[in-house]
Structures are given as C-alpha cells and as structure tokens.
C-alpha cells in the first residue's frame, strides 16, 4: 500500500458523528403523547395510556438514536429518559396525596370542627378536633422546651469546646446514629421509663414530649452545629481581643450571628416531630376530652386521632380523619414556610 492511498483513505474518515436534530426529543415526545391520547380515546384507562405513552417515548427515541448516532448515543438518550421518568414517578404520589387530603379535608373544616372536642355534653353537640389540636401543640411545645436547650448547648460544646477531642467525636457520631432511631422505639423508651417510675397504668402528655424530644434533639444538634461552624473565626477572635470571656463571646457574638439558621433548624425539627404518631400512641394515649395538663392524664394529638378514626373506618370517621389530616398538613407546611422566612429575616447582614 503506497503512502498516497493511505492518505486518501484517511481523508474520508468523517470527523463529525451524525446527530439527531435538536428537536428530536420534542418530536418523539409529541408522537408518544399522541399515542397515549389515542389509547385513551380507544378506551384504555388513564394510568395504562400514560404508562404506555412514556414507554413508547423510552423505546422510540433511543431506537432512532441507535440508527443515527450509534450505541453510545442511544444509551445516553435512554438513561436521560429514565432519569427524568424517575422524577415524574416520584411527583405522582405527592400530587395525588396532597390533592386527596385537600379535596377530602377542606369540606370537613368549619368553625365547630375547630372549636369542639369529641366529648359530648349534649346529645346533638357537633364533634370537632379541638382537643387534638391542643394536645398536639402542648406536647410539641413540651418536646421543644426539652430539646432546644439540650440540642443547642450540645452543639455549642461540639463546635466551641470539644473541637476534635474524643468525646466530641463520639457525640457527633452518635447524634448521627440517633437520627435513625425508629419513632416507635422512642415511644417504647418513654413508656418503659415512665411506667417503671410511676406504675404500669401511667399515661401523660409529658411522656409524649420526652419521646418526641429524643427524636428532635439530633435534628437540632445537627442544624445548630452546621450554623455555628459557619460563624467566621474572625468574629470570635475580635471579641477575645477586646477581653470578652469565652462564654460571653458565645452568647453575645456567636449565637446571635447564627440565630437565623438555628431558628430555621428548630422550626424544621418541630415540623418533623409534630406529625409523629407511634410514640404518642404508646405513652400519651387517647381521650375524647380536652386535656390542658401536660403532666396528668391521656392527651390526644392530631396524628393519634387520625389513626383512631382510621381504625373505626366508617364514613363519618373517615371524614374526620381527612379533615384532621388537612389541618396537620397545613400546620406542617406553615412551619416549613416559617422556617424559610425566619432564616431570611435573621440572616446575618452582609456588607
């Protein structure tokens, strides 16, 4: 083979691979949607036609790509399609759940639903979930009162005092592990603790608060720890240079700087535990009356009430359960929103 021939064959090697047109995804998408629509018209169920439409998209686009772009391009298209599909699949239950709760729950909400308890003093008195709302708020407040000081101080210890020592490492690690404690185990712990001290028939809101705080402390510690680590060392050193003792530096300089993030973390922690059911089922019990005393007697919370209504299973009970679920979701969403707003308001001023 002469050199000239070799050069000529090389010249004909294409430098650009053939590619699908830019709108290929859109084109196939429209075709797949049309296919799904056709199936729907032909009398197939909504779920089936959507599934087959997505499947058509996932088959057609990679096949087309395989013919034009080759195997690697086709794999890429297929994986991109699958990855986006996975996201779509995850959104479906969320939308369905929120739609369900709102559409079924809103109708049950009215003035009497929010202001009456299950306990009837007259035969025709309307039922409401007032007692459960009070119970939820009191027990969660109790949990916050226990876990915020402990959580924040523990985080202060980890960041300000224990940097790198063995105890701090052990605490950090165990706090991480603690975030994974099943809520029912927290309930069993409170149950075991209180029944050993006060006798086997003991139920109270306080026990619920203790159980919830076991779940809440690790979240508060993690959030506070992260925020404290973001406080620049310059601030601490400037304070020390002015002769301020370390504890005052922490209380007056470090914590105020990080307060936005800490409050956000606490609010998110509250929104996490306010919907807990299992531990309260075990130790806080359930009652039809409004109980304002955290230290004595059974106390119903919204999640426990929902569970109880679910067990009864008849139509009025189901309606009450959806109504209570709606209130619970609203509380949780408001807390989440509040967390974001609080974080923005208290964010350290820059510049």
């Amino acid at each position: 083979m002469s050199t000239l021939e070799e050069v000529q064959t090389r010249v004909h090697v294409p430098l650009v691979q053939p590619r699908l047109p830019r709108q290929a995804g859109v084109i196939v998408g429209v075709i797949a949607a049309a296919f799904g629509g056709l199936l729907l018209v032909l009398g197939m169920g909504v779920v089936g036609s959507v599934l087959l439409g997505v499947l058509a998209f996932l088959v057609v686009l990679p096949s087309w790509s395989l013919m034009v772009e080759g195997r690697r391009g086709a794999t890429d298209r297929l994986m991109t399609g699958l990855i986006w599909t996975s996201f779509a699949i995850a959104v479906v239950p969320l939308v369905s759940l929120i739609w369900r709760v709102v559409s079924k729950g809103v109708g049950r909400i009215d003035g009497t639903f929010l202001s009456y308890s299950f306990f009837k003093t007259q035969i025709d008195q309307p039922v409401g979930v007032y007692h459960a709302i009070i119970g939820t708020l009191l027990i969660t407040l109790g949990a916050a009162i226990i876990s915020v000081p402990v959580g924040v101080m523990a985080a202060v210890y980890l960041v300000e005092y224990g940097k790198g020592n063995k105890l701090a490492k052990a605490i950090t690690f165990l706090v991480d592990v603690m975030t994974g404690i099943p809520s029912i185990v927290a309930g069993l712990f409170a149950f075991a603790l209180f029944t050993l001290i006060f006798g086997p028939a003991y139920v109270s809101g306080l026990g619920g608060s203790v159980a919830l705080s076991l779940l809440m402390v690790p979240i508060v510690v993690r959030a506070t720890e992260e925020m404290l680590m973001l406080v620049p060392d310059d601030l601490r050193e400037a304070s020390y240079a002015l002769g301020t003792p370390k504890w005052k530096t922490i209380v007056r300089i470090v914590l105020p700087t990080a307060i936005g993030g800490i409050l956000t973390g606490i609010t998110l922690a509250i929104s996490r535990v306010i919907g807990e059911t299992a531990p309260l089922l075990l130790i806080a019990g359930a009652t039809d009356r409004t109980n304002m005393n955290l230290f004595d007697g059974a106390m119903t919370t919204l999640p426990v009430l929902i569970y109880g209504q679910n067990l009864r299973g008849d139509a009025p009970a189901e309606a009450i359960a959806w109504g209570a679920a709606f209130i619970l979701i609203v509380i949780v969403m408001v807390l989440n929103l509040a967390a974001r707003i609080v974080g923005k308001i208290f964010a350290p001023k820059k510049g």
Binding site: S86, V156, S183, L196, V221, Y307, N310
Partner: protein
C-alpha cells in the same frame, strides 16, 4: 482568654479574670453536660428497654400464643414481615432516588433543580400517619387491578411466580405497604445521594466530557465511582428508616401469621414496629414485656444498620478530605 483591659487596676483585673473564669466554667460545664446528656439518653434507651423487656424473652408459652410458643417463634415472622416490606421499599425507592438525585445534581438546569429539590423535601415533611391514611383509603384500592394483573401474568412463571400467588381483594398486601414505605424513604436517599453526587470534582467531569463521553458515560465514569460509598450509605440509611417505620405498615397491611413467599397475599406477617402499635392496647403486663423485647430487637437492628451507614460515610469523608 481574658486579658485585663487598660482601664482596670491590677487587683480588679484579677477579680475580673476570676469572675470570667467562673462564668466560663459554668457555661462550659453546661455545654458539656448537654453533650453528655445525649450519650446518656442513647444509653438510657438501651437500658430501659432492656430492663422492661428482659423478661419478655422467656415467658411461658401461652403469652406468645396463639401462633407461637417461644420468643423466637414470635419474633421470626415479624422479622420476616419487617424485612419483606423494607426490601420491597428499597427495590422501588433506590433507583428512583438515584434518578432524582441525578436530575437535581447533573441533569436539570438550576431553575428546575431548586424547585425539584423543594418538592422532594415536601415529601419528607408529610407526616407518616397521612401517608398511612392515603395508603389505606386510596392507594390500596387503586392497586387492586395491579395485584390481579401481577397474579395473572407473573403468577404462572416458575420461580418468580411464587411471589405473586392469590391476590388480596382489597389491595392491602405487603406489596402495597412496601410501596407506601418506598415513597416515605425516597427523600432521605435522594437527599444524601444528591449531596455526594454534587461533590464530584468538576475537573473529573469535564475531563470525561472532553474525551468525548456522552453525559451518561460521564455520570457512569466519574460521578458513580466517586460517590459509591455515599450511595451505599444512603441506601443503608433508607433501610434503617424503612425498618423502623410504623404507621404505613400498621394502617395499610392486613395482618396474618403464615409465612409465605406471596407478597400480594390476603394477609402477611406484619413488621415489628407495626405489631407494637397494634398490640400495645391490650396492656397485659406479660405481653407488654414481650413487645418491649421485640422493640429492643428492632432498636439494635436499626442501630447496627445506621452505625454501618454512618461509618461508611465517615470513612469516605476522610478520604475526600485528604
């Protein structure tokens, strides 16, 4: 720490230092006490469960009744139920979670990725009892046709067919419970894998792309190898969550005691956590001890799973820091 300022005299400087020292000691002590309290609480969980549950391991046969005679016989079906539901949940949730994490970290433009991340966080914020309600009253009914379809189409296949025996007419099978669990553990797996995916060094990714890799090849060759341990621990944490989740299983599953391979059966063994929630009301002291003992088993199991997960994360973080 507390150098005297220019204004104070020598004697009062000493006094100021001493006072600051006291304040410091008290504050440091309080912080340390809070830290120790967390350790004590964790130890307390173990100790109190052990005290209350110790006798639950060796009760007379009738306490474990009517379906078992000993603690082992009582707890094994529950363990099977716990792991069946968790494994179904993992099989469904893990690929989805990795896909969503990739959408957020690598595929979507920022204006899509931020709301997507927010939506997934919303999934985590929904209380478990609401998932249970939704699963019991809505999803279970909707899944009945799927149960029938699975039984008719996959039932006759030799080995896999065992999983899809006689279907549950109400849809309240362990498969449905697993699906609800999957939705509940999706956020935590997504959050952690998203974190590790986005930590892949930019240079690795750009090098792969510069060599002509497609986007998927880039993900496979740079992102996955870099975040392998993070992905493993994300799955483990999801498993820990699934093992201990109570309400979804309690409210969705119709409980039975026969061990079988059929995951769409009319009744299946429930999970440890759900069993506690279902049985605690009987309040017979003997049975309560047994329930606390099963709770201890659950605690140790989730502790171990979480411990391993965190250990893997910690190791990979040290490796990355180097």
């Amino acid at each position: 720490m507390t150098a005297p300022t220019a204004e104070v005299e020598d004697a009062s400087a000493n006094w100021a230092t001493a006072r600051a020292g006291v304040g410091d000691r008290i504050f440091a002590g309080a912080a340390r006490a809070a830290g120790l309290m967390i350790l004590a609480a964790l130890a307390g969980v173990f100790i109190f469960l052990a005290i209350k549950g110790a006798s639950g391991f060796t009760k007379p046969a009738e306490v474990y009744g009517p379906h078992a005679e000993s603690f082992v016989g009582y707890v094994v079906p529950l363990l099977v139920g716990t792991f069946t539901a968790s494994i179904i949940a993992l099989i469904i949730a893990v690929p989805l979670a990795f896909g969503i994490a990739l959408v957020i970290s690598h595929y979507a433009p920022k204006w899509v990725a931020v709301p997507v991340a927010y939506v997934i966080d919303l999934l985590a914020a929904v209380p478990s009892v609401v998932y249970g309600l939704w699963g019991a009253f809505f999803l279970a009914k909707k899944l009945v046709p799927m149960h029938v379809w699975l039984h008719e189409n996959l039932g006759p296949i030799p080995v896999i067919g065992n999983l899809f025996g006689e279907p549950n007419p109400a849809g309240r099978s362990i498969l449905t419970a697993g699906i609800v669990l999957a939705i509940m553990i999706l956020p935590i797996i997504t959050a952690i894998s998203r974190e590790v995916f986005s930590r892949t060094p930019r240079l690795h990714e750009e090098a792969a792309l510069a060599l002509g890799a497609t986007r998927w090849e880039m993900v496979r060759m740079t992102v996955f190898p870099y975040s392998r341990s993070g992905m493993v621990s994300a799955v483990m944490l999801g498993l820990g969550r699934a093992l201990g989740e109570t309400m979804a299983v309690t409210m969705v599953l119709s409980v039975g005691f026969d061990l079988s391979w059929n995951i769409i059966a009319t009744s299946s063994p429930t999970s440890i956590a759900a069993n506690i929630a279902l049985k605690y009301k009987e309040r017979s002291a003997d049975l309560l001890n047994v329930l606390v003992a099963t709770g201890l088993v659950l605690f140790l199991m989730t502790f171990l799973v979480n411990f391993i997960a965190r250990w893997i994360v910690g190791r990979s973080e040290r490796r990355m820091a180097r």
